[in-house]
Amino acid sequence: MSSPVALPVVGRAYGRIVLRVLGLVLVAAVLAPVLVVLLSWWSPEGDIWQHLLATQLPGLLRNTVVLLIGVGVLVSLLGVSLAWCTVMCEFPGRKQFDWLLMLPLAVPAYVMAFVVLGVFDFGGPLQALGRSVFGPRWGVDVRGDLSVIVIFALVLYPYVYMLARSAFLSQSSETLEVARVLGCNARQAFFRVALPMARPAIVAGVSLALMETLADFGTVAVFNYDTFTTAIYKSWFGFFNLQAATQLASLLLLFVALTLFAERRSRGARRYTQGARPQHHRRYVLSPTGRWLIFAYCGAVLSLAFFLPMLQLLLWVLASGGEQFNARFADLIGHSVSLAAMAALLTVVLALVLAFNRRFSSARRRDVFSLAQLGYALPGSVLAVGIMVSFTWLDNRLFLPLQQWLGIDPRPVLLGSVLTLLAAYWIRFLAVASGPLDSTLERIRPSLPEAARTLGADGWRVLREIYLPLLRPGLLTAFVLVFVDVMKEMPATLLLRPFGWDTLSVRIFELTAEGQWQLAALPALSLVLVGFLPVLLSIRASVRR
């Protein structure tokens, strides 16, 4: 097992206890709504199960597996290769691509889906052009495995890209040079040294992408592509059987939990620490053809994943006129930004508590703290209902009686408050923040804080002067990821928002619910633009380092 990193952040025993207790409280908070979901098994819904098994389940499972494999392979290829290119190779526009390639993260998958359908579908402009050339019956249905996989891959590869990029950046060039001296060529050095060293980061990125794919409903609904999550929503919205829906969701949860657990186990006792101060890399100098090939590759991915959807959205905005621009629209933006900022800050701090808890634990305890990442594995609506049920329970059993006892006019305090909505966000997105934090933390050599301690620094000082500076890239990445994810989040925002707290994603929901996709272009475009502001700021901060 991992070598004992017995050193606590805060030296004295009480500091360690506070950290532990905080960590356990967080795990409990995430598990409460998850338990609500699991409790659904008290009343078996054999009827619906039988129906699903007999009619749809085989097809759904096939689609889900195809989707997971396809998206998994494609995001790994795109994310890792792009990260390697921008970190290790010199090519035209490298500095710009370095951050531009993160931007597709700000494009919600459901927006990408309706843009792709709008442009490429039978009724869209491209095929209409084709018909004017090849005759009126010409055309193809673009909806299928491939298009759904590509859409997910284009908007989700930045998870892998960002994590792999910061992993490659922090790999000391000495390690690679040693590999070269020992007779590896560039390719061998990549596959035998750089890639294995970046494994925790890559796995973290791919699992985020896959969890998001698994839990997605909006994107697959646009394509009428049935996945396991479709069955969950069908049981709920069609049969009005929330029990059966949550039972299905708990299977999804089990699958994710087992996979994550297996991956952690397969890493075994390997450790991934790095030299303290990564020097600037000497980048590979390529032949002119090679340079321009890489340029073309990066450019193609970026155009497909970002510029093309932006262009289409812009065209739709121009076509639909500016009547949506008013004070209420500014409110939507304000709500989106403030909720995302608060939630991201909160989530990063809480995820840091968990990350330290994992760092200072034995392997088994570490799994306990990893349970806090399960919130991300549930479909958004199901988790939102779990949260809603647990919070109304608190309201009805705790706060209302308390208010009555105190003689105050009793009204629910939790449900419909900003606090509850923020709780929903951090419960859902702890996993997103944990990825970058864990993988950065794993690369810090234990000897550094140990040395600081030996030299007499107390726990807070070690945290402030050793951990936080070294964790900075991870903290920034975590903040940006959560910020953007909260901006895009729809089901929990819809269900738990306080009165009047409509956000951009709420507006997109309302417009697309009635099929008014073109009108939804303005909120969608604004969401992307506002969403990538923190991406830009964080990049400037990380470049300056």
Binding site: D226, F237, F240, G334, P412, Q516, W517, L537, R544
Partner: protein, 341 residues
């Protein structure tokens, strides 16, 4: 330090966002609505202007809203529930979330088939789901009923929206009550066989596909066509009122559904809520609702908008809309068995 100032900026923004909590004024009603904001806010604003009663609302899909009402129980702040399909209202009554309202005004303004017999919900607008066709490839004489679209002559020419949409579930449910389960299943299977392309995610896509020549006939709610025709007069897609002629099930009329509203059990302002209900069924609100979304008024005394009057009068299926709710789950099972995605 750049990072610190960035954080400060966000915290500041957050505080500003939090600080804008409006002070509650009375009187006030709270509405949970699965009818979207653009289609309710103007009407609520009109009510507020006339009566001084403020209306606060939350929009979401019906499923989550019902789950929320259910979890909140007697402490729910909601006074009214609006949903866009009768199936959802029927569910709400099954979960005992809606309270009966006894009102002579509502009994007069809303036809009996468009409201709950115990007064737990009332239609506020009517939508008709019917056949649309490509003007240059289909003659209206070729069309007759929903059932006839299963005929072989439509092979490779039919477009449908997904069976996951409640509009289709309600349509098939009323077909079941008119034709029986076995016959409906073979009709739906016939539809599936005739599909030109896998079902779409929205009615708009169905209309676009017909306009683009991907298929020739389809089933949509009439207001979607009205909207697209208003935006593009050369659309080339026309409307046909289904099941107008013939005996029995053949001529039972077009399938209609409602967007409806009910008062919650938890409401402690039932009288005020009833006032809003009655106002919604009155001529002024009915006109506003019809104008907003090209739907049909529930109140027989109100006229539809000029645009939809051009389609001509039609006979509506007068099976109580509640049937659609009662049979919804069976309809979904039937469509699953028939392979209708």
């Amino acid at each position: 330090m750049k990072l610190r100032s960035l954080m400060c900026l966000f915290v500041l923004l957050s505080v500003v966002g939090c600080g804008r909590n409006e002070a509650p004024q009375s009187p006030e009603l709270v509405v949970y609505s699965s009818r979207i904001e653009q289609l309710i806010k103007p009407i609520f604003d009109q009510f507020t202007e006339e009566t001084g009663v403020r209306i606060r609302y939350v929009t979401d899909s019906a499923g989550p809203l019902l789950a929320r009402l259910n979890a909140e129980g007697a402490n729910s702040p909601a006074d009214l529930l609006i949903t866009v399909d009768v199936g959802n209202l029927w569910q709400a009554t099954e979960m005992n979330l809606l309270a009966p309202i006894d009102s002579a005004v509502l009994a007069e303004n809303v036809p009996a088939s468009l409201r709950d017999d115990q007064g737990r919900w009332f239609g506020m607008s009517v939508r008709a789901r019917t056949i649309v066709y490509a003007r240059d490839r289909v003659k209206p004489e070729e069309l007759s009923t929903y059932e006839a679209l299963a005929d072989e002559k439509w092979s490779g020419r039919l477009c449908l929206r997904t069976s996951k949409k409640v509009y289709n579930q309600s349509l098939v449910a009323t077909m079941m009550s008119a034709n029986g389960e076995a016959e409906t299943e073979s009709i739906v299977a016939g539809w599936v066989k005739n599909l030109a392309v896998a079902p779409f995610s929205s009615d708009d896509k169905v209309i676009e596909a017909i306009a683009a020549g991907q298929c020739d006939v389809g089933l949509v709610n009439s207001y979607y066509l009205a909207r697209q025709q208003a935006a593009n007069p050369d659309l080339g897609v026309e409307l046909f009122w289904a099941n107008q002629q013939g005996e029995g099930a053949q001529g039972r009329g077009v399938h209609v559904n409602i967007c409806g509203v009910g008062v919650t059990q938890a409401s402690d302002k039932k009288a005020l809520a009833q006032q809003l209900l009655e106002w919604l069924s009155g001529p002024e609100a009915q006109l506003a609702i019809a104008n907003l979304n090209q739907e049909f008024p529930v109140n027989p005394a109100s006229e539809p908008t000029p645009l939809i009057k051009e389609w001509g009068a039609f006979k509506a299926d007068n099976v109580p809309v509640v049937e659609a709710g009662r049979l919804q789950a069976d309809a979904i099972r039937l469509m699953d068995r028939a392979g209708y995605r």
